[in-house]
Subunit: 485 residues, 2 copies
């Protein structure tokens, strides 16, 4: 497609300049993006509210998170140690052969295409974590606007463009394209100048882009966040003491934001006994009290209704509780159901994501069946274990398996609420994401858009600043095997 | 296939134990592998010589490299900082929401399948860099023996098994399978318990495994080293001063080991002038003086003959020099040819690898045409620039493009000779490798077989040792944003 080809040609030209900009210079750009987003004030908040049905407090909070990650990545690249620099100096007299001078650092991978998420119009969209971490790495970004919040996307794109212009960036360091249908997205992923893709959305959509990227003459990495049902395991002894408190905590997590989070707890796994009955009773009351909420857009509401109906008609599934429904098809009503572990294990449909305020309780006969459910589970963003320390210590074998199934393990908490911090891991084995080796949230997200290059026998004057012997940037480096600044 | 299924089931059982072994314990295993390899003495050397036609000095050298990387990875995991630990402590009173305790480290990815390389019977084969870095990470390994050096592979496998037994490893921490045809290899890559693949070999073979891995229900990473022609660019002013010295240096690199290195310089790019004529004259004399050598096996020798013939029959290609040939089809004779940049740019066949002691000289009309040849080039393991510092400094734009084309840039050296050190990057944009974000040589090769997991709100007693607050292992960690020990 002509526009796509033009956009990537411009991005490649921008790349050859932008990739060499210092961390300090890129930081001024990223901070200016945050400033410009804030400068739009109410206009942005109201546009996003109108397009997504999300309440003001949530949008304001999400804006704070977005400007927060702009400034976090600005700090990260200004400081500069993220490039993982390694310096091995020459040993010209080594026998039998001299050791050459070798130095290595991460360099940006090239133009990146980002598909924004429907459920985070700001924090995972046009100026979301993918865009900002790619820009921080030194990669130009082309955002394919999400059609569900196109006006919001245009406003944010305008802010990024203004920031780029004010801070002297190449004009095509950021480009915004939109249009319905799959053609534009496919053309963006297939273009030879595209070197990586960020995507958050459906399993079918993300997998299609992943396949397309791998079928290119030059395959490229796709960081797609696809599908996660975030199991929560309730250990029996602890549940008998804390069933009411646990139920309240989980009800809040299930219904948060009308269940429209990738970390929504969609599966609760426990042993069938009196404590579980108490838990279900309290959870049912909370779910009945919860109100339905308007979902992000009609497509998501319809999909929730469809997926929920499919789950509920599976063999052995019993509705435990639902909130009132108002006959409004744009709304999602909280819902919980239960099924025996035996029926669950026989039916892979019940492991599929129902995106919305729904959770399925798996009733296990005993601890062995609970283990069987956990072992059979596929990749997740998170797995949660609820139980006191003594009881969890008895089930280290369970933890041992859970580590293989998710990118983040939570003890006595809820999976929703993804902290932005260096230790965050947002990504997990397939189908949670297409590359479990990288996080989409937190400082390490920048690593997705970089690759290492070694410089052998370079004169000092030709080395990137990060690798010059005297360390003019004062970054952390591994020098002849020792970490030092 | 039954054997494959059995092997992977055993590997998965071994994994659930082995992954939790301490770095110290894994180190005893890796060092024992080195000891057992050395203990085989002449038997291993002679078997490898017989199967590969490589001379004794080379095999002894390669054995040293193999035991060297066993001990290097032992040191690495014993020290322990490779897990990239991050600790972000809780802020329970933070407003508007408390910050949870979050910690992160790399954990092993699962059972790894390794296909050894024909051209390195020891260092990139059964106990090669892929196997040893995967074992170091905590992953069981299944090696598919290379049929061209099966006896060598069996001997090394025996050494690894003995080492595993002596140091108390699970028996299936390492398994050795062999057999002709593609079925076993395909079944190994497709098995659900396989979590990563290491491969060194042909573009067609590696790409087939890469595609297979991506078509699985759960796609898995493939680290395949495929094809690289390692361009060497001769800058004109410097060449006019140093043409004879440069020619001798390159002749040695082209003919080293009968050209059977993935870093063999297959392309020499220069501006057509008197200096280049002098260079070609000296290089021709060196090539004529060089003797043909017996190649690794008949298949490689036949392939060299075939690929060379294809290259030489392309339009505009002129033979510049060849060594004597002896009419022995197992031998590879050094060969150089030249072609105009114009003809080269029009013919993609000339960019394909000719695995053996062959190099093609691209004669450019001027510096603009030289740039055009570089810009058009695809991904490589290495790119080399020959010229003095002043002249290179005038061509920073060339360096700026070269960084995008290769994993390692060499100035005034040759691409052959891959130093094993922390700053090494052996891997490059496709088709050099299938994942340019990881190296196959040096300490960072371990990162290919690991993925990060975050531990949220874990009691100290349930944390892995690497993440315990008091840092009992004394490793480097990022704690609340600061690197410390």
């Amino acid at each position: 497609m002509e526009t796509v080809d033009e956009a990537l040609n411009k991005a490649q030209v921008a790349f050859l300049a932008y990739k060499n900009f210092s961390g300090r210079k890129k930081a001024t750009f990223l901070r200016a993006i945050a400033d410009e987003i804030e400068a739009m004030g109410k206009e942005l908040v109201e546009t996003a509210m109108r397009e997504t049905n999300l309440p003001e407090a949530r949008i304001v909070n999400e804006r704070g998170r977005t400007t927060g990650h702009c400034r976090m990545f600005a700090d990260l690249v200004e400081e500069g140690s993220w490039v993982d620099a390694r310096v091995d100096t020459a040993l010209p007299n080594r026998m039998p052969a001299p050791k050459p001078d070798m130095r290595k650092m991460l360099v940006p991978i090239g133009p990146v295409v980002v598909f924004g998420a429907a459920n985070f119009p700001l924090a995972y969209s046009t100026a979301g974590g993918d865009t900002i971490s790619a820009l921080a790495a030194g990669c130009p970004v082309i955002v394919k606007a999400h059609p569900a919040h196109l006006e919001t996307s245009k406003l944010v794109a305008g802010a990024i463009e203004k920031a780029a212009s004010k801070t002297g960036m190449p004009s095509a360091v950021f480009q915004h394209v939109h249009g319905h249908g799959f053609e534009i997205g496919q053309a963006l992923v297939k273009h030879p100048f595209t070197k990586a893709v960020g995507f958050t959305g459906s399993l079918a959509g993300g997998k299609a882009l992943f396949d397309l990227a791998n079928q290119r003459t030059e395959p490229i990495p796709v960081f797609a966040e696809l599908s996660s049902i975030n199991p929560v395991i309730l250990l029996p002894d602890s549940l008998s003491r804390d069933s009411a408190k646990t139920a309240s905590m989980l009800a809040a997590s299930i219904t948060l934001g009308v269940g429209q989070f990738c970390t929504n707890p969609g599966l609760i796994i426990a042993i069938e006994n009196e404590a579980l009955q108490n838990f279900i009773s309290v959870l049912s009351i909370e779910i009945q009290k919860a109100l339905p909420g308007t979902m992000l857009h009609q497509g998501i509401a319809d999909n929730y209704a469809k997926r929920l109906a499919i789950a509920l008609e599976q063999k052995g599934v019993k509705v435990e509780a639902q909130s009132i429904t108002r006959g409004d098809t744009t709304q999602g009503a909280p819902f919980i159901a239960s099924v025996s572990a035996d029926a669950f294990l026989k039916n892979s449909t019940l492991s599929e994501e129902v995106f919305g305020p729904f959770s399925l309780i798996i009733k296990c006969k005993d601890i062995n069946e609970l283990y069987a459910v956990v072992v059979k589970g596929h990749g997740q963003l998170t797995s949660t274990l609820i139980g006191d320390e003594t009881e969890i210590a008895k089930h280290k074998a369970l933890l041992n398996v859970l580590v293989e199934k998710a990118g983040r393990l939570v003890i006595n908490g809820v999976p929703t609420g993804v902290e932005v911090c260096p230790a965050q891991m947002h990504g997990g084995p397939y189908p949670a994401t297409t590359d479990s080796r990288f996080t989409a949230v937190g400082a390490d997200a920048i690593k997705r858009f970089a690759r290492p290059v070694a410089f052998q026998n370079f004169p000092e004057a030709l080395l990137p600043d990060e690798l010059i012997t005297e360390n003019p940037l004062g970054i952390w480096r591994m020098v002849n095997g020792e970490f030092k600044k």
